[in-house]
Symmetry: C2
Subunit: 501 residues, 2 copies
């Protein structure tokens, strides 16, 4: 084996450990009894340290040098793979092994504690966990930033979106910060006037689950290579050939769980659609979390909440709940489902927020993360800063209600800093992709309304899934849409959907 | 840290990897979608190799030598722990790392294939998997046997029951082989005459599950540190502070699932009852699989199927299925439950077999394993040998029905050779423990009938759970029962329960 081939074998082994970690982490969130928590935190930390030791095997440095020297013989995919291997090596070797273990243990324990403390609205109890986690993330960010030659917070963003920097994000987010307040003001008024009937429950969980699985299958989710479960915080985990999607149901309404699963199905199809030939290699993984969120938001926001898709959905919902539908037929029409799914109002919870107000959460989290990482604010300052931001951006009061304020999201408890921008970048990318696809596919609305999604899937697979991490973000978007990342299509989409109707 | 303390830290890390492996293996059996199988087999193999590499770290050899030299300062528990560390080192270093990976991959793939091929009664399709697995196990047995200074098959037994050899098992099993045929003959006759009414179903799975959980709680199973799920083959997995019990339900009858869970609860309580102070150390693990099976069989056979326990159980069953109970009151009496649970008849399936005929499966498996490992027979000979044995021992014909014959059990597909004796040794130990406990605790039948199991649990915890792997088998039994391993109490129990009634 030459140096490059030995590096591929090395990364295949790391991928196996990532597989193990993904399944055990999924178990931690969905299956583990509470009392199993402390031992699990230790076990995951030991795995993280072992994985890191492996990744930092000194031989790898020599192999990378050799492979770069011999790289003229490599294919474009192999060259891109080698590039990812080098960045991964830089990132790994910049961190002391003990820090990797301490970080893993702290994040698992903190997330476990958060599950109860959030319920109890107990900020004072949670604060020390977050302080420990943040101190470790600052250390990680410093070390990674030095290795990558970027600011500490950039280095955290880079973990989730390789190559992405604040310098790319700031102007886009500034554009939205200018656009959104007035837009939301107008949309809330329009939305309040739009007629809409809430389908009356209760909707038994088992029937909701069956409906969700039916819709997931219609969207092509492969249950031979994935499954659906319940968790506290909906997510998509697992590995490309064993995708673990989770949700939570409310008996009062199927509206939120159903759309949540359409969202997660977008994540899942991306993973299931990654190219077989590169499975287990860095270039074969999903492009980054902004692109990942773009796939879930393409499924949810662009496709799922559209009138054509609601036209496909309505009869399935009526079949799932025939008694409800015959008792209240006006609630189960495509038009009413669509109206429910594009209803906008100011509300506290990000994961339940509508498409128009959602980005305010992200802008606020992004600003706070920047200040936390730069040391301009401390953990103790978060509740007040959150309350001030929510008041300013949405006119909502979260003082004394940290449970539905700054404590609502799993990210910070789980030491996930630098991720939040991915959501809104994903929304921007999703709109850009959908606009390009609409230009490419004739008669799109009618085929979607009939549930014929083959052309959509083929287009997405060609544009995104099959490309894995072969290109950087702008070249990938250029190839798929004819232009680099831009908020133009996103703003046009928002105005068309929420103000033209 | 001195050498001994460094060895403790080393074993704590191995324990974390064993935790990870236990959870991922549980997931493989209960949760994983079928398509995830190949990648999972590779991931588990990579984990096994990494664990093995770690276990064989050359430094450990030096530390062991040093710790043995300094061992006069160690406590008895520490000395026992050091002994286990040394045997574990011998076992690990005797195996090449590549063999560890190949063995793990082959066993996971073979078990995955078996799930379908058994259903399809496809011996020809399954045979190559078993041949690969057996070839690797023979290699493992050779290497382990050389390191431990024992016969290859002894080395396999030793994996599940440290220190146990064929020389201990053979006389006990010969005693049973002489005792059982005539005993079964008589018991089948007695049993056929004993009146017994089958409770009429259907029994919805959800209600069965609730009943089972109620009984598990009454037996002290801690759901804060464990859970209950469904799998193809019932088992108890996970780790001491996160015990994963599985079962399968039939709507036709609750009888089998309920007793199956009482059995698995015995395994689970043993794990949950291991001493905190030694968690993560070799001496802190369960004693061996014979002792493990003794705990499940103590719960199932000694306690669960007894008339006093059925007296406690009957009202719970009636509350769980009130309509059934009022329609057919004679089926829900303590006496009738007891009669159902001690009914004996010749049947094909080990896991559904009654207490009296069950050992014939074990005797036959043991004989075949010995011959397979000694090279006196080949995989191709198994179906005929199985058919001949079942005919001879139970008068049953399995020719052409490998699904319910030699293919019925997960052990060989999963490369578990040397385990089967544990079941019958466990039954023998369970009877010996129960007899000793009955001598120690006054008024036992009446407290059991009232569901007051505190004294039973305290006795078991003192005799077995709290001792973990502190003693060898005979000293452990001597301490708990006043005598070494003997089949006397077991035979007395069988004769009293099945012939005196």
């Amino acid at each position: 084996m030459n140096a490059y081939e030995r590096l591929e074998a090395h990364h295949r082994r790391l991928f196996h450990l990532d597989h193990i970690n993904a399944i055990v982490s999924w178990d931690e969130a969905t299956m583990m009894p509470r009392g199993g928590g402390p031992a699990r935190a230790d076990a995951l930390a030991a795995l993280a340290q072992l994985r890191h030791e492996r990744a930092c095997d000194p031989q790898v440095g020599d192999l990378l040098e050799q492979a770069v020297q011999d790289s003229s013989a490599l294919s474009d995919w192999q060259k891109a793979n080698l590039g990812h291997m080098r960045r991964s090596w830089l990132r790994n070797t910049s961190l002391p092994n003990a820090l990797v273990g301490a970080r893993s243990r702290a994040r698992v324990r903190s997330e476990q504690a958060w599950r109860d403390l959030r319920q109890a609205n107990d900020w004072a109890g949670f604060r020390p966990y977050l302080e420990e986690v943040l101190a470790l993330e600052r250390e990680v960010a410093q070390a990674l930033g030095q290795a990558l030659g970027c600011a500490p917070y950039d280095a955290l963003i880079d973990q989730y979106n390789p190559g992405l920097r604040q310098a790319h994000i700031d102007p886009l987010f500034a554009e939205l910060a200018a656009f959104l307040p007035d837009f939301i003001e107008r949309v809330v008024e329009v939305s309040a006037r739009r007629p809409r009937v809430a389908p009356g429950g209760p909707f038994p969980v088992e029937q909701q689950r069956a409906l969700c699985m039916q819709v997931m299958k219609a969207l092509g989710f492969d249950f031979e290579h994935g499954r659906l479960d319940i968790s506290h915080h909906p997510f998509c985990g697992g590995v490309p050939r064993d995708v673990r999607i989770t949700t939570r149901y409310s008996e009062q309404s199927f509206i939120s769980a159903l759309m949540g699963l359409i969202h997660e199905t977008g994540h899942g199809r991306y993973e299931q659609g990654l190219p077989d030939a590169w499975l287990g290699q860095p270039v074969g993984t999903a492009h980054g979390m902004a692109m990942h969120e773009s796939q879930s938001l393409f499924f949810e926001m662009q496709l799922g909440r559209s009138l054509p898709f609601c036209t496909f959905l309505a009869p399935l919902v009526r079949e799932a709940f025939p008694a409800h539908a015959s008792a209240q037929p006006e609630a189960f029409t495509p038009e009413n489902l669509h109206a429910s799914y594009i209803h906008v109002e100011r509300s506290l919870i990000r994961v339940d927020a509508d498409e128009a107000t959602y980005p305010t959460h992200v802008l606020l989290r992004y600003d706070i993360e920047k200040d936390l990482m730069a040391g301009r604010m401390q953990v103790a300052d978060i509740p007040e800063r959150w309350a001030e931001g929510m008041q300013r951006l949405l006119g909502l009061d979260t003082r004394g209600n940290d449970r539905d304020g700054c404590m609502q999201d799993v990210h910070w408890p789980a030491a996930i800093f630098g991720y939040f921008p991915s959501y809104t970048l994903g929304a921007i990318i999703a709109a850009q992709l959908f606009a390009a696809m609409s230009r490419a596919l004739p008669d799109l609305d009618r085929t979607i309304a009939r549930g014929e999604l083959g052309a959509v899937v083929t287009w997405l697979s060609d544009a995104v899934w099959s490309q894995a991490s072969r290109h950087d973000l702008d070249p990938l978007l250029q190839r798929a849409t004819g232009e680099p990342l831009s908020a133009r299509a996103y703003r046009a989409h928002l105005e068309r959907r929420y103000l033209d109707a």
